[in-house]
Subunit: 316 residues, 2 copies
């Protein structure tokens, strides 16, 4: 695929970048000063047939309009909320993502965040590192994780992988999704509020769309309640973050384990002093093993497109 012009808008993975530069004609947008980027795009628009985005910088309408030769957007992510899918459909631009290969990592992190929040692992680690154990005595008690009811919003690949793991901790599983899944052996709720009212740990694992934005709102948090814990490994805007901050500060919500935030990399600073939360910087798929597998999937999709073969993981 040496002839394929590929636009990379931001640096995202050194292995992917290295392979792209070996195998394609690679355009690194971030190397051009900000004020000259549209000029750079105009100058190379005829060659740029592919674009690689991720979960932070995808392909919005303006970018797609600037690239009249664009044939494919291959996203280095499973979520496509930063890609204007309607526009791609209209322009018959193909779209691929990287499903499956990151499922394990994201599900691992969901369980890790849930245990860390319930058992106060990060706070306890700070307690030891500060020397407090020796000086102030035994650490306070926390909450048991095994056996707690877990509610999952979105029972797709990642939701199912979380459920499978949680079952090994004897946690009863319930879920919300647009419709009941015929083969899932878990309790279904057709309302997120009802799900939250009937679980102890609520895990957000659905895709971000206009319908799911702020699916976890004040009413849901209040249903989860002062002993409830929220875990978000989906996308920040699935949760009304201003309401989340209030609920946590006011003790109306018990705790939260958060991998994603509404305005990344900005995290509300009111959370920084809270011991009831665990905050990680969007690292759901952030392992060497998985990022390599995701990169290989992006490369495989571009190669298939260049060879006019079926895409490996087509979305459009």
């Amino acid at each position: 695929m040496e002839s394929l012009g590929v636009l990379l808008t931001v640096p995202m993975n050194s292995y992917l970048e290295g392979e792209l530069s070996k195998r394609c004609k690679l355009f690194r947008l971030w190397e051009t000063p900000l004020e000259n980027r549209w000029q750079f795009l105009r100058a190379n628009a005829a060659s740029i047939r592919a674009l690689v985005g991720n979960s932070v910088v995808g392909a919005d309408a303006e970018m797609i309009d600037a690239l009249p030769a664009l044939e494919i957007v291959a996203s280095f992510s499973v979520g496509l909320d930063k890609v204007d899918l309607a526009k791609c459909r209209e322009r018959r631009i193909r779209v691929t993502n990287t499903p499956d290969v990151l499922t394990d990592d994201v599900a691992d992190l969901a369980i890790g965040l849930a245990i860390a929040t319930m058992r106060r692992i990060c706070e306890a680690d700070r307690y030891v590192r500060s020397g407090a154990w020796k000086n102030m005595g035994d650490y306070k008690l926390s909450s048991k994780f095994s056996g707690k009811t877990i509610g999952i919003i979105g029972l797709g690949r990642i939701g199912l992988a979380i459920a499978k793991r949680a079952e090994a901790f004897d946690c009863p599983i319930s879920y919300y999704s647009r419709s009941e899944k015929p083969h899932a052996n878990y309790k279904y709720y057709s309302s997120v509020v009802d799900l939250a009212a009937n679980c102890h740990i609520l895990i957000v694992a659905c895709a971000l769309t206009e319908e799911t934005r702020h699916i976890v709102n004040r009413e849901v948090m209040d249903a989860l309640g002062p002993k409830g814990v929220l875990v978000n490994i989906g996308r920040g805007p699935l949760v009304d973050e201003a309401e989340l901050v209030s609920a946590l500060l006011e003790g109306r919500l018990g705790g939260a384990g958060l991998d994603v935030f509404e305005h990344e990399p900005h995290v509300p600073e009111q959370l920084f002093g809270l011991e009831s939360v665990v905050l990680v910087p969007h690292v759901g798929s952030g392992t060497w093993e998985t990022r390599k597998a995701m990169a290989d999937l992006v490369l495989g999709n571009l190669e298939a497109h260049a060879m006019n073969e079926p895409l490996l993981t087509p979305v459009l």
Copy 2:
């Protein structure tokens, strides 16, 4: 059991203490100034028929000798390494512990520490709280947890509970114990070094005895290697801590998740600056739910003893 004189040596759980003071004749040793404690014991020795210890302060030979009327040691712990069992056997003193009720919590923490160490959850949490995400960009990649081979030292109740959880993450399980377990469907190693050489995450879950002290020595750590991770939720002295500190500082060991330490509450300060470790202050069974269940078991054993009925969880 109003007539049963019970000695509590250190404060350990307010619910347990409250129930003991309601139901028995309770002696609180820590309320007597240090220099008068032997005098206090002598004065009350005739009444003290029971002693409640825990994993930090049990019943050593000197204490047992000071209590000629002692009939039972009911430990608020599963491990009895702080109780002089030989002495108890000789004096025909009954001994009970609190098995089973803390199994889930300790196994949860083992998995939580393993995920937190592999995925750098506490370090990532510090990264967000310090404001670094916004200022210094994406966080570095970590290691995948799912699918990693897990080696368990000691396949008792807790070891089996850890294995069951880890299986849900598609982790192959292998183990070391004194002898192969006939019904365990996991790979057995008769040598700890061989186990360490063939796993990525080594979890220490055996009892502390003279035979198992420093069962994880330098040779075992070197077999685990620079990508290996050690998790200890057993007892501190199971690991040669000086060697552990060297191995971590020199990068001969990849990381460690530690709930227990050789000289608690003292933790080697060289570990405080290390990002490759997660350090928690012996909180394996430290949840409200489990401590209440453990207290009820201590009370049930004392009650059974007072009523001359079979003990609930006798060790001797």
